[in-house]
């Protein structure tokens, strides 16, 4: 096992209060990508 994540980073990753805010931000970011639409590719570049 090689320590690749510092104690501070690990604290941030696992702290429920910080992570609660991350959860809100992450949910919104994911929702924006999911609901951000999709479409074809062919007409755009033709």
């Amino acid at each position: 096992m090689t320590k690749r994540i510092s104690n501070f980073k690990r604290f941030v990753m696992m702290n429920p209060i910080i992570q609660f805010f991350k959860f809100i931000i992450l949910s919104i970011k994911v929702l924006l990508i999911v609901a951000g639409g999709h479409g074809g590719t062919r007409e755009v570049t033709k």
């Binding site: 990753m13 074809g40 590719t41 062919r42």
Partner: protein
Amino acid sequence: MAKIVILGAGISGHVAASHLRRKLDKTHEVVVVSPNRNYQWIPSNIWVGIGRMKSKEILFPLAPLYKKKGIGFKQAKVTSFYPEGDINEAKPYVLAEYVVGEEKGRQEKITYDYLINATGPKLNFEATEGLNPGTNKAYSVCTYTHADHANEGLQSLIEEMKQGKEARIVIGTGHAKATCQGAAFEYILNVEQELRRQKVRDKAKITWISNEYELGDFGMDGMLLSYGSNIMKSHEMVEMVFEDRGIDWILGAGVNKIEDGLAHYETLSGEQNSIEYDFAMLIPSFSGHGFKAFDKNNQDITEKLFKGFMIVDADYSPKPYEEWTVQDWPETYQNPNYKNIFAPGIAFAPPHSISKPRKSPNGTEIFPAPPRTGMPSGITAKLVADNIIDSIKNKNESLHHKGSMGNMGAACIASAGFGMTKGSGVSITTFPIVPDYKKYPDTQGRKLGKTFGEIGLAGHWLKLMLHYAFIYKAKMKPFWYLIPE
């Protein structure tokens, strides 16, 4: 009035059926044909496979829901396609065989006006000698029964480890061209955390084995992503996580034979190696179901419908990796020969892989097949349903709804351990799924802000929330349609 037949009740079949039923009045018939009696939320199989969730929490029976909603349901498996009908039947139909009850074995011609083939992949265990879930100490988590089995195997090994046994655990891909690396990635991290929770982590050596050229390829040619204020490659991110968790890795490995506790593989450099294990979870290759198709004179026309998976509006002309473009990927999932047949989700034949193809000096192709995860499966199913609905309502073919994987984002919230306070998730989003190297030449084909990685407890909560949200949606509870695919 139109009859729409949907083959398969997985993510894409069920999404298509539910949207069709909601938006079409009851004069139109919606019929689902699937051999499974239950709907299962496959992504949560990871937690079933470590015993942190019961399989009954991820599934529900389809028949009562379909009855309540006015969706026809035949618990049968389709065997062949007759897109022109035959000499006795003027309408196109599929031939299906019932799989349970008194009707078991009975065949039925199921006619249709529109057909949605959402049969997903065949889990092709036979392609790897000796790979058969639950035998040779090798398991799968691809279905809830497989995951239950895997959990039994894992828990009995943990018991032995508590008695002092030193164990080797191998998790990854079980074929040179397997896909679904994401699921194996989740499982290895969950197993690692479970060993820590049960205080036997020091007794295990855990190895990732994969057909990927680099870690973090995930069958998507890897990705450049924003991670906090940094920009990092997905292989750096996964390397960081694996090293931190004490997981070592073997890459470019095409597993070709499994014996009791022994996996044989060929590497990209052409060596034939093997690795011993006490517990393995290896994702099999995915293939088409081997369906046959016939014209009205009973002549075999399988090649008009299938190329392994179903042929759709993709560009299948063979070309080298350097010439691949996002335009090769389908937009409407319509079969070009029979325009009332569609194939969303995993059922469509991709034009090529997404990852760069690679061969060993012996000529063995070792690289991931392209993944089609839950989100694109749902999105493509919904757009197919919407095009059919428009075509029925306009009484004219309508293909306005388009969704190429080259112009669609995906979120992969990979569980890295279960638990409300000890859990973790590696959340990765990508836009687009298939890299567009022309549009985003400096960022490996993807838009950076929309392609990001995040590690932490929030990822676990999000994955758990998605579990409940998608089961709510699948049960078609009030306002289910407001939850995006």
